[in-house]
Structures are given as structure tokens and as C-alpha cells.
Amino acid sequence: MRIEIKFGGFGGQGIILMGNITARAAAIYDGKNAVFTPSYGPEARGGAASSNVVISEEEIDYPYVTNPDILVVMSQGAYEKFAPILKDDGLLIIDEDLVKLKNGEGKVAKIPATRIAEELGKRIVANIVMLGFFTGVTKLISYDAIKKAVLESVPARFRELNEEALEKGYRQGIEWQEE
């Protein structure tokens, strides 16, 4: 089955990297087909950023995300921009400190990813906390695969921190799923 995922937030939050890591984990370590397309335009830090992933067991033809099954947002702007294209039965995943929900959404999973990252000592790993949460909630990608993809994407001296961030998010994701 074809699953479409969109990640959205500010430029600088590591939104593009989230897409890259997710698709790479699925394609290389889980042996599925995956396409990653970063949003590409004359944007800069602080502006809107988004990245898109399509995962499927079958061959993927059309590479872009049109109606995501899963929307992961880390800014109010990205939430407002992309929530309307989320599938009716789609899953919305938010950083609850950064996104205020407007009206009755369908399925929503919340985590204070940025706050957790700050508690770990580096705000910059908020995207990795979120990736862990996404993995736990959706089970689309194995934990092993996402961990490998994360660790090969970060400088050696930050591996431990990122691993911790990923695990924290993942555990909350599993808890959410059990509820």
C-alpha cells in the first residue's frame, strides 16, 4: 500500500532531514520502496519548510505527496497550510507546544518534542525526538531502521544525544499507541 507522509515546520528545525532519514530508513534498512522529495524553492531559514515521503511495498510511480496519510507538523504555519490536504482518516502528529489545534481534528498524536529536546540539553534534536515519536506511533518503519538512519546522519560526537532523543520520542509513541 502507498503511504504518503508530509513533514512541515520552520526552516532550521531539520524538517528536510526528517524526510530524508525516514525514506532512507524505509528504503535501505527496511527494504521497502521509498521516495523523498524536499520542498524546493527560494526559501531560507525561518521560512516555511516541508519534506515529503512516499513509502510502498510496490513500485512508486508518482513521486510527490498530494494527500498525506500522515502529517507531522512542528509549527503553526505548517499546520495551517497542510492540515486541509490531510486525508479524512489521516493521522496528524504535532509538537503540542508549537501547534494549537483549531477545530475538531480526526486522529491526533501530540508530543512536546521541542521541550523534551531542551530537557536533553539541545533544542536542535527536537526533530529527532519527533521522528522517534512518529516511528512509535505509526510503526511504519522499524525502530532498528530509523535508528541506523539517524545515527549515520549525525556527527559522531552527537550520536549519543540523538540516540537518546530518538528513544525518548519512540517510547512516548509506543505509549500513545497502547492508549
Binding site: R24, A27, T37, G41, P42, Y62
Partner: protein, 379 residues
């Protein structure tokens, strides 16, 4: 060495393909959406003993890769629309001097500066006819990062074999999408080198060809090398007032490609066995087309896809033959009808339909499916 599995964008895959093919010289002027190729070559070439030069513009970039090729290196540049326009003069020089080299054009929406960050496929005719005079080039069109890798290697091989500039006609979508790329073990990849003279220097005729393609001695190999854009005889010297020499030369420059069309043909057929209507597409448009064919097949339409991996030389004979079997052809491309002209030239105007897009976005499978329905039902 075992095979490797990478997760590359089309641009990076093309750069890595070039390195595997033996490219050791890159001259370029970065331009969106091709810049990652230059960036990656700047990083990687020094690691393998190659040379990267950022030139002052695209005229110079093209000139430099011709020069490097005559110095014995496999050479490449990468650009997009506006830069590709500036390269045309020296692409003609490359065709006339039979210089092996590869030019990647990651197409964006034009004309002029157009939409720098967004997709287009409107340089198809320019790739074929962009420089003045009669000449032929080869152009290949990948539809995935894997093919960006594979076809860039192939482009180098063909450039060496036919002594001609080979254009890799990518597009922004293929250049920027990331996918799995399998890199085969080195001994499983075919690499072609240019034919070298076997005769002693005093007997060497640099433009005498037994089989269309002359042997190529490069500077510093002990042979007299004379490279000119003027009409030249078999010795390589200008004969700019002799129509017979001109006739011989231009015929050979064109025929070495035209007469090898069948060998150069590279087409993927999908669901074509019982097809009554055929989609003709290439590059990123072929991916949407494939999805549309799947949709149409699920609903009982006998539709197939003809995907052109080699765009130039155009497979005239292939389409001529198909004209009897296929009722209608729908060309799906991100321009206002370029490959469509080639298809209708071969199968007839009444059988050819166009689903164009002016650029900035790719076709949605749904809209291609609607066009299939419309054409199929005869509207």
C-alpha cells in the same frame, strides 16, 4: 567489491555515475536546479585525482570540457536551460571536432530564466537542434535516480564510442527526488574507452574512419593533433572551400548516429502487448504516465506506455512499425508539444494526441487517465 545500496537524489546519482564511468574533469557554472552536480563533483573529483573548475560562464565551461577531452580526460559539465543555451555554440564545435564529452541538462521551466526551481521538459528540440549546421548528437532521459546513475555511465560510454557530445536530459523532479540507487560491483559495470590509433604517427589520419568513427589521438600521445571547427579533411586540416570535403564530413558526422539508431535505441515498453492506445513519455512524465496506465488497465482500457530512454536519435523506424498496430498515441510531456512532433511525423497527425504541461509541475496520474479515456473513446 560487493554491490552498494545508496540513497541518492538524481543529481548526486548522476555525479556518482560520471565518476564510475571515469570522468576526471568537470568544468561548470552552477545553476539551479543542477547545482548539486557541480557541488558533488567539486567534493569528489579531488578525491579520485580529478580536476574540478568553476568557470566564468557556460561558454567557457563547454570549451573547457572539449579541451580536457582532447587532453585525454573523460569530461563533463552540468547545467540547466539558460546555461544550456550558452553552451550551444561549443556543443556544435564538439560535434564538428568529434569530441567525446557529456553535458547534463537538468531541465527547468523556460523560456529564458523562467521558473528556476521548478520542473520543465522543453529543451528536447534544443538538445537536438541548438547549434547551427547539420549535426547529430545523442540524448538520454532518465526517470529515476537509479537511471541518472546508469544513463550517465551510458552517456560516457556512447560519447567515447561515437566521439560525440552526449546530452543527459534530466529534469528538476528527477534531479531532486531521492530514491534507492544500487551501485553494482565495479567488474559488473561496462566501461568504454575511445579507440586509439594503432598506426605509427606518420601514417595517422585523424579523421579517416573505417566505420564512421575515427580513431582519436590526444595531445601528448606522439601524434599530430589538429582540432578545428572549420570543415576539415581526413588529415584534420581545414578545407573550407571544397564542397566535396564538406559533403563527406557532414554526411559522416550525421550518419555515424543516424545509421546506428537501432543500436542506440533504448525504450521501455509497459503493458504494450495488447495495447490499442499508447502513451509516449520520458523522464518524470513517464512516472505519472505509468501510474495512469495502471489506473486505466484496472478499468479495462487496453493502454500501454512507451518510455523513451534514448530521445535522440529518435526511433523513427520503431514508431513507423507501431503505426499499424496502435490506434492512437498520446504524448505526455512538460512542454507544448516537442516529442509530439517526432511521433506525429512517424505515425501521422490523425493518430497523435498531446497532453502538454507548460512547466512548474508534473502531470497528475488522474489527468493522464482522463486523457486516455477521452482519446480511447474517440472524443
Amino acid at each position: 567489491m560487493k554491490k552498494q545500496i545508496k540513497f541518492y537524489s538524481g543529481n548526486i546519482a548522476a555525479a556518482e555515475g560520471a565518476l564510475v564511468a571515469g570522468c576526471r574533469f568537470f568544468a561548470g557554472y552552477p545553476i539551479t536546479p543542477s547545482s548539486e552536480i557541480a557541488e558533488h563533483m567539486a567534493l569528489r573529483l579531488p578525491q579520485v585525482g580529478g580536476v574540478f573548475i568553476q568557470m566564468e560562464d557556460e561558454l567557457a565551461s563547454m570549451a573547457a570540457i572539449l579541451g580536457a577531452s582532447w587532453g585525454g580526460a573523460k569530461s563533463m559539465t552540468a547545467t540547466s536551460g539558460p546555461g544550456f543555451s550558452l553552451m550551444q555554440e561549443n556543443i556544435g564545435l564538439g560535434a564538428m571536432t568529434e569530441t567525446p564529452c557529456v553535458v547534463i541538462n537538468v531541465q527547468r521551466a523556460g523560456p529564458s530564466t523562467g521558473m528556476p526551481t521548478l520542473v520543465g521538459q522543453a529543451d528536447i528540440m534544443q538538445a537536438r537542434w541548438g547549434s547551427h549546421g547539420d549535426y547529430e548528437i545523442i540524448a538520454l532521459s532518465p526517470f529515476s535516480p537509479q537511471e541518472c546513475f546508469d544513463l550517465t555511465i551510458k552517456a560516457f560510454n556512447l560519447a567515447e564510442e561515437y566521439r560525440v557530445p552526449v546530452i543527459v536530459l534530466m529534469d528538476e523532479s528527477v534531479g531532486h527526488m531521492f530514491e534507492k540507487v544500487v551501485i553494482p560491483p565495479k567488474d559488473k559495470i561496462k566501461i568504454v574507452e575511445r579507440k586509439k590509433p594503432t598506426v605509427p604517427p606518420e601514417k595517422y589520419m585523424p579523421y579517416k574512419a573505417e566505420d564512421f568513427v575515427p580513431e582519436m589521438a590526444c595531445a601528448g600521445e606522439g601524434y599530430n593533433v589538429h582540432v578545428t571547427g572549420l570543415t576539415h579533411d581526413e588529415k584534420g586540416y581545414p578545407q573550407a572551400t571544397d564542397p566535396e570535403v564538406q559533403d563527406r564530413l557532414v554526411r559522416r558526422l550525421c550518419d555515424k548516429i543516424r545509421k546506428n539508431e537501432k543500436k542506440l535505441r533504448d525504450i521501455e515498453e509497459y503493458e504494450m502487448d495488447d495495447a490499442e492506445v499508447a502513451i509516449v513519455s520520458f523522464g518524470i512524465s513517464a512516472r505519472s504516465s505509468k501510474a495512469a496506465v495502471r489506473l486505466a488497465r484496472q478499468r479495462g482500457y487496453k493502454v500501454g506506455l512507451i518510455r523513451l530512454k534514448t530521445i535522440w536519435p529518435f526511433p523513427d523506424e520503431y514508431f513507423e512499425k507501431l503505426a499499424d498496430e496502435i490506434k492512437k498515441f498520446v504524448v505526455v510531456e512538460i512542454n507544448y508539444g516537442q516529442i509530439k512532433l517526432e511521433v506525429e511525423r512517424n505515425v501521422g497527425r490523425d493518430k497523435t494526441f498531446l497532453l502538454p504541461k507548460m512547466g512548474g509541475e508534473i502531470h497528475k496520474p488522474d489527468e493522464i487517465y482522463r486523457k486516455i479515456k477521452e482519446v480511447y473513446n474517440g472524443n
